[in-house]
Symmetry: C3
Subunit: 199 residues, 3 copies
């Protein structure tokens, strides 16, 4: 096991890099859905763009993914058992919800928000992980939308008028980040469990 001086399990640099890359790639895919559906619009075109996203967006999502994963391991021992299918399904579930938010962003906020919350609850019930995973998800649900409120305040980007009911960001955004926290926590567990499964 890769551990810090206190003996707790930690992510290795290569694992953090993979989680960063997975997060950045997922951010690009999800953000493209938001931009193409006009859920979001970038206001500052002076920065480089990758696909539909300003360069800083996938970097932030990658950092958030690696940070949430690292937080997960600081909060308690990860569950054993490595199954790459769970990793793939968890990422796919999150990107499916991300795409759904793009598709419902012009619909009434009430049913759209209810749907995203319930899908996030289903992801949480499916992936589980107890208090540490719940803590990661709650932190993500608070910090993620707060960071996006700041992005809106800085006039770097904005949400469409049909999806800005929570201080300029969508009412379903905390639920999307909540699901993100559960997925990142599960990926952290799987990254550690993979070491034992490796030949």
């Amino acid at each position: 096991m890769f551990r810090d001086t206190a003996g707790a399990v930690r992510l290795k640099p290569a694992e953090l890099l993979v989680l960063f890359a997975v997060g950045a790639a997922g951010g690009l895919i999800g953000d493209a859905a938001h931009v193409q559906s006009q859920t979001t619009q970038y206001l500052d075109d002076s920065v480089p763009f990758i696909w539909e996203s300003a360069l800083w967006f996938p970097l932030l999502v990658g950092l958030a993914t690696a940070s949430a994963a690292e937080l997960r391991l600081r909060l308690g021992s990860p569950r054993p058992g490595f199954d790459p299918r769970i990793a793939g399904a968890a990422i796919a579930a999150l990107l499916a919800i991300y795409a759904i938010t793009a598709l419902v962003s012009d619909q009434p906020a009430g049913p759209a928000t209810t749907l995203v919350i319930m899908l996030a609850v289903l992801v949480a019930a499916w992936l589980g992980g107890g208090t540490p995973a719940f803590a990661c998800a709650t932190a993500a649900a608070l910090l993620g939308p707060a960071a996006e409120v700041l992005i809106v305040e800085l006039e770097l980007a904005r949400y469409s008028p049909t999806a800005d009911g929570l201080f300029g960001v969508p009412t379903w955004l905390p639920a999307l980040y909540f699901a993100f926290g559960y997925v990142a926590a599960r990926l952290a567990e799987l990254a550690v469990a993979r070491r034992a499964a490796a030949p």
Copy 2:
């Protein structure tokens, strides 16, 4: 075990109250989605309202939930095993479908109905429960829409013109109630199994 004089398992008053409250709360959440998306519209404003719903609506859904749960236990022995995550996921799945009906209510009835039916089948296959659960779901799929047809006939509420293809109620409504029946039956089982799991 709490049993009637014939020895069959019965729900305790406190359990029935919890199921009533869960059903009433879920009814409020789902009905808000229907009202906000203009899937439904209340025509009689002379009664008190809670959130978006006429007072009688959450009461009816709460009663229906407790009744379906009680019916489930009269139809056979419940399965053992208590897991609160299943209860949460079952409720979330049903409310997700409820929200989806709100979001597709202005779409062509064919694909909307196919989607809701297939999601109800997935809920049934996931929660299982054999003949008793199927009977609860079938009873709900018949009686629930029938009660709503009556509500429409009494001009207390109406569905939008894009979602009234089945005697004034939506063609997807039986499937929504079918899923509701499976969820209520599972909650009844979990309520009984919780007794053995309690400390």
Copy 3:
């Protein structure tokens, strides 16, 4: 076991017929969703129609289903274990995705395609089946859209202008066929496993 001269497991004629019928029925249901949502439009009305579909469409889907199932068994030993609930859930999941494609066909292609791809990944992760199932799904994802490109080229039918970004067929079509391949492969396994489960 029903085997060919080389000893490999094969589908019996009755099993192939059931798979053909399941595929044809599913094709009719899904195609009705596409026609009713104007995702697709038949251009040649000189052939007989069943429900919303030209006669040849359900026949082709039925043939594709039986062919994919037969391919699955030629690629390796099927997994044991018969559970009709899995068969029902797999078919329902595929028809749910089919209906979703109808409902999102007038939305921006980006988020619609991301959603369908992620749902297909979830179906693949759920049903599993290793390399043989993946091969069936990949073959379906290539040959299915190719056949539909031909249908469009022959001016027998066309997709709506909002869903024709891939040589005249939708960008989400390969993902729908990919999920179809996984479901057909799983049905093939269940058909064989059912023999052992039969009384």
